[in-house]
Symmetry: C2
Subunit: 154 residues, 2 copies
DNA sequence: GCGAATTGGTTTCAAATGAAACTAATACGT
DNA sequence: ACGTATTAGTTTCATTTGAAACCAATTCGC
C-alpha cells in the first residue's frame, strides 16, 4: 500500500465538497426530515413556499435548482398529504399557484427552526469573521463553478 | 409571491453545499469522466489505487467514504474493462488485492491532470491566502459535521 | 478445537433519479 | 387568424442507489 505521488483524493476540492454535502444533508434528513416523512426535495419546496407564495412549479424549479420532475413529484406528495394546495393561474391556465395549507405552514414552522438550529451548530466552530469569510468563499466558488459549467468543453 | 421572513434557502449552508457539490461533480463528469466512460465512483477508485496500491475493496471504502455496494460495482466495472486487476490476499482469502493494470495506469495518468486542472480553474478566483482559509474552513466544517452526525439524536 | 459471531464482498430488491416522450395551454410568425 | 413553436407540468422508462439478505472465509469464546 505504497504512497506514490498522485492525486490526493481527500484533498481534492470537488471530492471534499461532495463528502461534506452528503454528511450534512444525510444528517439533517435523518434527524428532522425523515421523522416528519419529508424528502429533501419536499423540504425545499416547503421552505421556498414558506417564504415566497404563491409560486408555480417552474418558479420552484428556479428557486431550488431542482429538476422539474423532482419538483413535480415533491409537489404531488405534499398535495397528497394536504401540506400544500394548488390553484390555477387565471392568466395562464398551464401554471399552478402553489401555497402552504395551514398544516403545511405548521410543518414549516416546526421544521425551519430545527434546520436553522442544525446550521447554527455546524457554525459554532467558526468565529464570526470566519463565517463571513466562508460565506464569501462559497459565493465565489459557486460563481466560478457556474462559469466553468456554462463554458463549452475545450 | 411575497417575501415573508423565514428560512432563506439560498443562504442555508447545507443547501449551498449541495448545489456547489452538484455543480462541480456534474461538470467534472460531463467534461472528463463521462467521455472516458467512467462513473464518479470508478474515478475515485482509480484515484486511490493510483496512489495506494494494492488495496482491498474495504480499504477503498474507507479511503473514498463510499458504500461497499458502490465500491463493489465500481470495481466490477473496472475489472471488466481491464483497468484494474484483482489478486487474492495470501493471509486472508476473503480480501482482494486490487491494483491498476497498465491501461488503468494510463487512464489514471490521463484523467488526473484534467481533474487537477479543473480544480485549479475553480480556485483561480481565490488568492493564495483565501485558498488556505478555504482549506481550513472545509476541514473544520467536515469535522463539525461528523461530530454532529455521530451524536445521537436529541 | 469447534460452533457462534464477525468480516469481506456480492446479489437482490425496492426506492429515487433524470432524460425523453407526452399532454395541454399559450405565444409567435406570417 | 391559423398553423407552428414554446412553455408548464406529468408520465414512462431505464439507470443508479443503498438497505438487507446472502455466501464464504476468518476469528472469537469457551
Amino acid at each position: 500500500m505504497s504512497d506514490k505521488p498522485g492525486l490526493r483524493l481527500e484533498r481534492f476540492l470537488p471530492y471534499r465538497l461532495s463528502i461534506l454535502s452528503q454528511t450534512t444533508s444525510a444528517d439533517l434528513h435523518r434527524r428532522y426530515f425523515g421523522p416528519s416523512h419529508l424528502t429533501i426535495p419536499q423540504w425545499r419546496v416547503i421552505a421556498v413556499l414558506g417564504r415566497f407564495a404563491p409560486l408555480s412549479a417552474s418558479d420552484i424549479c428556479r428557486r431550488t435548482v431542482m429538476d422539474k420532475v423532482t419538483v413535480s413529484r415533491a409537489v404531488a406528495g405534499l398535495r397528497r398529504r394536504r401540506l400544500i394546495e394548488q390553484a390555477t393561474d387565471g392568466n395562464d391556465r398551464r401554471r399552478s399557484q402553489l401555497r402552504l395549507t395551514p398544516s403545511g405552514q405548521a410543518m414549516h414552522d416546526l421544521i425551519v427552526p430545527l434546520a436553522l438550529g442544525y446550521e447554527a451548530e455546524l457554525l459554532t466552530q467558526l468565529s464570526p469573521a470566519e463565517r463571513k469569510a466562508l460565506d464569501g468563499l462559497l459565493d465565489r466558488l459557486l460563481e466560478a463553478a457556474r462559469g466553468l459549467a456554462a463554458r463549452p468543453d475545450p
